[in-house]
Symmetry: none
Subunit: 207 residues, 4 copies
DNA sequence: TATGAATGAGTATTCATTCAT
DNA sequence: TATGAATGAATACTCATTCAT
């Protein structure tokens, strides 16, 4: 009985947290990560700023949680695409394009992710532990790439480099896609990514 | 005599401007572009905040000037590397690696440049004119790539895409290099860039 | 029980608002409306500047509220004086002298009101709606004059002009009274106002 | 020879002063007395802010000089109108309407003048001496009214009061005229002033 | 006389956070 | 859990004035 109560309360609390996170995602997408204020998030969620402190210890914590869930969701998305593929090569392609497409479809999360890479060595004021965790989540999302490369016969190092290459190219293209700052002469970013994946497959095969 | 006086004053003023810009570069590098305050810049430069307004009309103007000079310097650097090369292929390599190396050597300017690509479509509040100018400077710096590609026999569109590809890959690798996240893979960013340029040359040749 | 709590809180909040308004009135009276700073108001009220923003959305809003309540109070004061009077003539006198006396007794509110008339056509940055509301409140306070004039047999236009005349004369005398410049003439402002009202009554009768 | 040089220089200096005062008048008219900045005045005059300090010791001094010259000019204007009139009554009318018309035609100077009456007892930070001088200038401008009243047979006190009355009524009407804040139902402010002067003449005659 | 450069004090407003209730 | 109230530090920017040149 008590247990049920507790469980219900926990579910309720969790749903409120999610509600706040949704509001935060919205606010961050609208005003940018540094300009979005706690007050804006609270208002969007239908709360007072002070109320958020019952659910999160700080604004940074909200951001961190958002980023974590984004990276997990990215990981799941990539994993799901890979699962369907039968050959190693198909898995490599699926992982590479899955990574790219996830961010192409969720541009606001790309912004979120870039925050990790900000200010030289300073990831925004997250504590080391959180930072490590987030890093691990990102690596986990990319891992299927290296795995598939190895399955294609690549050595450990070669597989890692393949992963890095795919990550780098995808990131660069997404940056361009997302900001539209360089005219791509009619080329779709996705087509360019596809092309690069093909090249990389060729390299792995040839190597 | 008067002329000399005036000239000396102008030089003095210019050196003070540069001094402030240096302080700003430092402040931006330390605290990020949105969090670095005018006060911080002024303090670093040994001035009162109000004093900066004699040299620059606003904080954004400081940032814009910094970025403009960075992009021009990038352009010059790339152009210089290209000049020495004799064949079209050598020019393509020189331009691609020149772009990469410029930012590899000047990481704080990379940060500066990324600001242009931040916040979805919101580039910080620069007026349209400045924004256009900065875009043009960036494109000018990349132009030698497309030029060299055409000299290698590529069509207009193919040349543009080559440029975009190089830009994307370099950007992605620089992001990793700059944030130290590439070390975890044990790879040399420059070697990877070199490799990609080779690939791209191959593609252009083959096409 | 909850209701009582809420009611008590509301009363408390209202009393704090009034406290701040009093401080503002004082600050405005001391330093003039444009020079009185939010900081000064806050300090006088025993608050931090930021705290005021919980009670009012801006400095202008404080001023507007002060002026609105002053004009309403003026209106009530005039209305009260008129109510007691039995004949139309007595009501005219009561309204005219009531208007004059209100400001003679509350000189700081005169200052407040003059702000409405300052700076050519630029009333300080109040939004149109507020501006209209304040105008309406002023006119409402003067309305009994026109009403009484009509009751004395004046036409619509004549009644309006009577109102304008009384307003003008009172205003001019109050300016002199308030700034102490009337003492140099050794005259009693109130006596002069009385005299003018008498004259005006005569005119209305004669017409 | 030296004398001529000195004289020429003095004239030059004086013309520069006047030029600055013109600029200040313009700036004050545009932005209000408290918001117009020294910088704005300087720019309008084609100077650097610092340059103005060779011609005036402070911003307040500029304001004071502007006001003094305005009051002198008012005095001259009134005196000129009076001069032409032959009878005492005509002189009274001329003085009263002259006062009114001067400000009706030069509304920005009305603003200037009101500054004298600002902030309770605080005339804006002018030193006592300047304040007295300005007061004297105002009184001198009004003096012809009292003089004419006496010439019409009024006693000393009655004449003073007549002057005060005219001043008050004119001021009140000008305030309304200048700000347009009360719809005057087709009545021109000048007609109302004329009417009041007529009344006052009647009183003086009758008394 | 005039300027460019600089200052110190000031402006209204915003922010993340805390705390009594 | 949630709120209203409050804070202290911060923000970019403006101002009248000073001073070496």
């Amino acid at each position: 009985m008590d247990d049920r109560k507790v469980a219900r309360q926990r579910r309720l609390a969790e749903s409120k947290r999610q509600h706040i996170l949704d509001a935060a995602r919205e606010a961050f997408a609208e005003d940018g990560l540094e300009k979005a204020s706690l007050r804006a998030i609270a208002t969007k969620a239908g709360y007072t700023p002070a109320a958020l402190y019952f659910h999160f210890p700080s604004k940074e914590a909200i951001y961190a949680e958002l980023l974590r869930s984004s990276l997990l969701s990215l990981g799941e998305s990539v994993a799901a695409e890979v699962t369907g593929a039968e050959t190693a090569e198909a898995r490599f392609r699926a992982a590479g394009m899955g990574f790219f497409r996830y961010y192409a479809k969720n541009p606001s999360e790309l912004d979120l992710g870039f925050y990790l890479f900000r200010g030289g060595m300073k990831p925004a004021g997250l504590d080391r532990e959180t930072d490590k965790e987030l890093n691990a989540a990102l690596e986990a999302a990319l891992r299927p790439l290296a795995k598939a490369a190895r399955d294609m016969g690549a050595g450990a190092e070669e597989a890692e480099l393949s992963m890095v290459n795919i990550f780098a190219h995808a990131t660069g293209l997404l940056l361009l896609l997302h900001t539209g700052r360089i005219r791509m002469f009619g080329a779709s970013a996705e087509a360019l990514m596809q092309q690069y994946v093909d090249q990389q497959v060729e390299v792995l095969r040839g190597g």
